[in-house]
Symmetry: C2
């Protein structure tokens, strides 16, 4: 499995479109058959997938529903007379959209559809539908169109699919999560609809792992290019006819590139750790992997785009030339923050998971486990009252700071949510429409930082703001607000010798003006 991941890394460095096309075929289509199907699906489809006799794609998103795929409109109904499912696109917003591989090459797809049994909707289920014959002709009752030119990834043939009452055999339902009997009875071991839905998204985890990994290597390549340019390019001289100065000898240029270089080291450790977690996964670790891969996916892809932009600019005009790659990468990798879970939406989900874990453990008085909050089982780390330079540089101290911060943020976030709930708001509306001052996605970020900080020897570019002699919560909160701003390039650590209780005026102003 590690070898397969390594193969993808290498292909992705060479051509992202090719890696995505292969990823769709092997990880999304193949992964769905494997994880959502049972033995007879494996026997029937896996070897022809391996040797590319058939080409698969993965049709989950629709024009009307991308982030909220649980609301898709494609419908599957069962016809017990013929033992077939009928897959239908009931309206224009129900057309499958963005389906990688669908526009030109795929012969089969996983058609995610709402399963209607005797008039009641059992939720999203996965069905195998053939969309082209082996000569590449589109099958009857299937319509396909290309999604058109994109700002990157044009090597991937993203397509739109409409199903016009397509009939497929009952066996094409991928039935590891739920099944329909020949007579049309719905059977599922998982009674909870939320859990059932979550099970269908399992194939996406490996996708997120590969996205994380590729975001890191592309940052590495672009930094290598920009730093090499800075080590050969000279501009301006100090004395009238003196030699020109190397770009990397300019302090401003160092400050633009070197913190990004430090960060990519940390990211690299984090991505490797995630890869190992994935490869060594157990049923117990699945939830942790889901949460961590989501958090890393958002953090690493955003950081990648930020790094690419800076490297592009640091190469001047040459950064614009496609053959110099850096600029080209920007178009190619931008979609990473959107597909396989939009970054902002993922961040919200992680907040919810951390919140649930926090509340559950507090309630049951049991230790935290699995989501990186284990440090909260230990007593509060102590910040020494004498902050020497060597203390501040020690990774132990730095991790303590991350931990302190995560504790504080989670506690305040939970308090705020619980308070709103106690005032009668539903849990859903609290989360969705809350607009917290302790914004969930920011809480999350700190969770991620914690995890990254825990990676052995992983160091991130961070700014230490040390208030000696005490700091008020208001001051902390002001800094927190700042660091929550999108695009903030640095981690912000607040250290203090003591916390002065008091003034929350600042927060009040910020809420009004922010």
């Amino acid at each position: 499995e590690l070898r397969k991941l390594a193969l993808f890394e290498v292909i992705g460095m060479y051509d992202h479109s090719l890696a995505v096309k292969l990823g769709v075929h092997f990880f999304l289509w193949g992964g769905a058959v494997k994880f959502l199907g049972t033995k007879h699906h494996h026997d029937k489809w896996l070897s022809s997938t391996e040797n590319y006799e058939i080409k698969g794609c993965f049709a989950l998103s629709e024009l009307g529903h991308g982030s909220n795929v649980r609301g898709i409109e494609t419908v599957a109904t069962y016809d017990s007379n013929t033992g077939e499912f009928i897959i239908n696109t009931p309206c224009e917003s129900g057309q499958k959209y963005w389906i990688g591989g669908a526009a030109n090459h795929a012969t089969h797809t996983i058609a995610f559809s709402q399963l209607h049994i005797n008039g009641s909707n059992q939720g999203v289920h996965a069905f195998i539908v053939q969309i082209r014959d082996s000569d590449g002709n589109i099958c009857p009752n299937i319509r396909i169109a290309d999604c058109g030119h994109k700002t990157g990834l044009n090597g991937v043939d993203n397509g739109r699919i409409w199903f016009d009452n397509v009939r497929i055999p009952r066996e094409n339902l991928l039935n590891s999560v739920a099944d329909v009997s020949p007579s049309g009875e719905y059977l599922s071991a998982i009674k909870n609809a939320d859990q059932r839905f979550a099970a269908f998204l399992a194939p996406l985890t490996r996708g997120r792992v590969t996205i994380c990994v590729s975001a890191v290597y592309i940052s590495k390549i672009s930094l290598a290019i920009a730093i090499r340019y800075a080590l050969t390019r000279q501009a301006f001289s100090i004395t009238p006819n003196g030699p020109e100065v190397l770009l990397l000898d300019y302090p401003t240029h160092q400050r633009r590139l070197l913190p990004l270089l430090a960060k990519v080291y940390a990211m690299s450790f984090a991505a490797n750790e995630l890869k190992m977690m994935y490869v060594n996964r157990t049923p117990e670790s699945n939830k942790t992997i889901h949460i961590i891969s989501s958090a890393y996916k958002a953090t690493l892809t955003w950081n990648n785009m930020h790094t690419l932009q800076e490297c592009r600019e640091a190469c001047g005009g040459q950064g614009i030339k496609s053959e110099n790659r850096v600029g080209q990468f920007m178009g190619e990798f931008d979609a990473q923050s959107t597909f396989e879970g939009d970054n902002n939406v993922l961040m919200q989900q992680i907040s919810k998971a951390l919140f649930a874990e926090y509340v559950a453990c507090q309630k049951k008085n049991k230790p935290f486990s699995g989501l990186g909050l284990e440090h909260m089982n230990k007593p509060l780390p102590i910040i020494p009252s004498q902050l020497t330079s060597s203390t501040i540089r020690s990774s132990e101290f730095q991790i303590d700071l991350f931990h302190l911060r995560e504790r504080d943020l989670l506690r305040r976030f939970a308090e705020e949510v619980l308070e709103r709930q106690s005032l009668g708001e539903s849990k859903e509306s609290t989360f969705i429409l809350g607009g917290f001052s302790n914004s969930p996605s920011f809480d999350t970020l700190s969770g991620v930082s914690t995890s990254i900080a825990k990676v052995p020897d992983g160091r991130r570019a961070l700014v230490l703001v040390v208030f000696v002699g005490g700091v008020t919560f208001a001051e902390i909160s002001a800094l927190r607000f700042l660091s929550a701003q999108e695009g903030m390039a640095y981690d912000l650590i607040i250290a203090t010798t003591k916390i002065v209780n008091g003034q929350t005026l600042v927060e009040t102003f910020m809420e009004k003006l922010g």
Copy 2:
């Protein structure tokens, strides 16, 4: 003139490549003939430029020299026997590079070259060279190649030009700044080589004005697209089968887009003010226009890229589709931070100009004038000790804060530079290699903010951090460091009721770890 600018705005909204191609022809080529040439050049070239009989380009940058164009290697020598200049590319790094219009269409170019007279180099001068005949055939002793595929602006035929001892008549020297007599004597009214060089860059000012303006309208278009999407797109519902929520009803989505919307209002006022300054320019206002157009160019183009990225992501997958424009704009407008003066380099130049003005006025004890520092002629603005919500919302108060901040930054920056100079560093090396904690480009940004804040009714998204009860310089400096980080989306204003002198420990740590 305003109509011409308006024409460019409209064309640029439709197709940036077309606007750039026209800009090169009219503003760079045409502007060079007009500003650097004299009557006989105007008579000979301007009308055929206006009616597109000839097509001009502007060959300043070379492979080896982009930001530091004063170091270009193309050489012009005078042959008094024939009354001709000989233009020559002496080495590969001296090839003209990135020349818009050169690869396919231009018939003439301004060849910037080092003018060698009797073995001594008089510096960069501008010469008219024909590079194609009217049928589009490349002229003898000229070689041209295409710069290749770019990540945007592929509608512009950027090219590379080599001159192989091309002979041109003496009259083709654009001689408003300096001339060479038929016998080969060098004549210039401007004795100072720095000033002479500056005069040659005059045609670039109008280019910067149009870049500013277009950065603003593209931000507007992309925000209009993203906000409209957010007003029609629904995702997720609060109750199980309830209606889905509009994206713009999510507080996180509001926080992503609305501060950018507020900012584009401020930017729009700023760009309009600049346009009017340019149209009403006088010889006295030229320096101010140069500085302000440089500062706005960097600020507005960076903000544009930031806005485009956020709008792209806010449109989800649809942001990737070229026909939806937002993503496409990212490739098209990215070069704006590089061409007609790299943003970082411009920022350094502005710092130098502000520093020079500051030191000169202090030394001669004369009032500040022209560079937006006039507020420093007035007494220090007073921050009321009672900060009510209406005070904080008043634009007067906000501008006072900008002013206070600019004063403080400039003073510290000047002190640091002067101290280094007093320790024996040369002025040039102090600036170029200093690596100030009061980073020049950040000082500059605050200068720009000031100017923007002064625009009538211009409001920027800003974060007010109010320390009631006193703040130390260390705390201010920590916040300053944060806000200097590239990509910081907010202006950061520090208000306090009194400044507590003391603790600079924070700064020490930050310097070591930053």
